[in-house]
Amino acid sequence: MTRQEIEQEVKSIFLREFEIENPQMDKDLRETYGFDSIDAIELLLEIERFLGSELTQEEKKQAMDIRTVNQICDYIEKMAKVRGLAKEA
């Protein structure tokens, strides 16, 4: 998967699951969109579905510092790389 595909999927998750249309990439999600701890847990499940594999407890802990959509995309890219799924655009 390319960075562009990841961004597209994240935006689609945000619209489908969180009713947030075209979120700004570098805005703080909590402050701007009221994104909370419950949303974060739902997001991790969606990321697992997208990657087609489970995240380990260690990997999930790494997601705790995420604050923006760009950071979500970075995180997915990193997880995809570990799983041999990442592709250059």
């Binding site: 969180f18 009713e19 009221g34 909370d36 419950i38 949303d39 847990i41 739902e42 499940l45 697992e48 579905r49």
Partner: protein, 412 residues
């Protein structure tokens, strides 16, 4: 320090209507909210009772996603009636979020529809991945205090939270414990009530105990029949209700519309059987309520009886009323209109009583055509009466042997 406590706002979603005008119209015109039991693709086809107190009209919910995501159907009812009560009350946002307002609200067992989805996922799962369909928020939607904390979240309420889950006395306890919290100065105001969603598990439980009505499956409006010779059991129902309690001087000072004063509350337990009604336990509750209100029993002119229309329950209640209040007070069984709304019945019946007080009428018990002679010692209301009500009692009894009584006075 004992302070006076008044009710200054009320709202309900019931099988006989949403809001004061519709509910009053149904009570005055004898309109029943009992309908055929809805198909649920699980239990409805096996249940003998085919009737249900149904909310079958649209409710115009306007909740944002951030609130909706932790709300099951019971919380939709709860948050809607809470919203209407807070709007009616005229309380400022500053007060609502100050910590001076608490919430006492419950449902009988969280959200059975959410629990059903969890079990369906669990039993239909073929491999580990399928279990992920159990959502992270399913617990928040189905926990026993889900209605109370969805309300606190939506309105930013930071006072105490009490969430009774005592079956049919859930919301009468909400009002009673809310009353005590204000009376003894622990909160300035309490938002109190209960809600339960459409659910066939509850019907199945009562059905298996042979406590549900089955003889009127083809004529739903003819059941339940409290105190009537042909009564054959209760009818389960859905709905929600909320009232705002506040300290009398505070309410008066801010010019609030006082619907009634809570003058007494009592709650006890039968100390034994968890299902059968108990004459001693119920009689004691009523006596404790009268003592709490510091009134003579003769002062009570209207009793909203629990009156589920079960064979034994109505007789025991009639005997207890006769023992404590005699034959003077008018008796109405409001479940005859809408069935048994479970966690919501105490608050909905309190609200109906407040509406009758305000409008100066007493609704008759529907379907009470031939009074069972074992209940005939009471002053049953069989046709609409235009009559002022000064003091009323609302009685509720629950599985687990829990009994409650609330006493309310008309100040207008």
């Amino acid at each position: 320090m004992a302070r006076r406590v008044v009710i200054t706002a009320a709202a309900a979603i019931t099988p006989i209507g949403h809001g004061r005008d519709k509910i009053v119209e149904s009570l005055q015109k004898g309109i029943s909210g009992i309908k055929p039991l809805r198909e649920d693709e699980l239990l409805s086809r096996y249940i003998h009772s085919k009737v249900y107190g149904t909310v079958d009209y649209p409710v115009d919910y306007d909740f944002k996603r951030q609130y909706r995501k932790t709300m099951a159907p019971c919380s939709y009812y709860a948050c809607q009636v809470a919203k209407e009560v807070l709007e009616q009350s005229g309380l400022t946002e500053e007060f609502i979020t100050s910590g001076n307002l608490g919430v006492a609200f419950g449902s009988i067992h969280g959200s059975p529809l959410t629990q059903r989805d969890i079990y369906r996922t669990f039993f239909e799962a073929k491999d580990k991945k399928d279990y992920q369909a159990i959502g992270a928020v399913d617990y928040l939607k189905s926990m026993v205090h889900t209605t109370a904390v969805n309300i606190t979240k939506m309105f930013g309420i930071t006072g105490r939270v009490i969430s009774s889950g005592t079956a049919c006395t859930t919301s009468s306890q909400s009002i009673g414990y809310g009353y005590e919290a204000v009376k003894f100065g622990m909160q300035e105001a309490m938002l109190c009530g209960g809600a339960d969603e459409y659910d066939t598990i509850t019907v199945a439980v009562f059905d298996n105990l042979l406590a549900c009505s089955t003889a009127f499956n083809n004529e739903p409006k003819r059941t339940p029949r409290p105190f009537d010779n042909q009564r054959d059991g209760l009818v389960v129902a859905e709905g929600g209700g909320a009232v705002l309690l506040e300290e009398y001087e505070f309410a008066k000072k801010r010019g609030a519309d006082i619907l009634g004063e809570v003058i007494g509350f009592a709650c006890n337990n039968n100390g034994g059987d968890l299902i059968l009604p108990n004459l001693n336990g119920i009689t004691k509750t009523l006596q404790l309520g009268v003592a709490c209100a510091q009134i003579n029993p003769e002062e009570v002119d209207l009793i909203s009886a629990h009156a589920t229309a079960t064979k034994m329950g109505d007789i025991i209640e009639a005997q207890a009323i006769s023992e404590v209040f005699g034959a003077n007070p008018h008796i109405v069984g409001l479940k005859s209109y809408m069935g048994h709304t479970m966690a919501a019945c105490g608050v909905i019946e309190t609200i109906c009583t407040l509406y009758m007080m305000r409008e100066g009428f007493i609704a008759p018990t529907l379907n009470l055509e031939e009074i069972d002679e074992r209940c005939a010692m009471l002053n049953h209301v069989q046709s609409l009466m235009q009559k002022p009500v000064k003091t009323a009692a609302i009685q509720n009894f629950a599985f687990g042997g829990v009994n409650t009584i609330l006493l309310i006075r008309n100040l207008s």
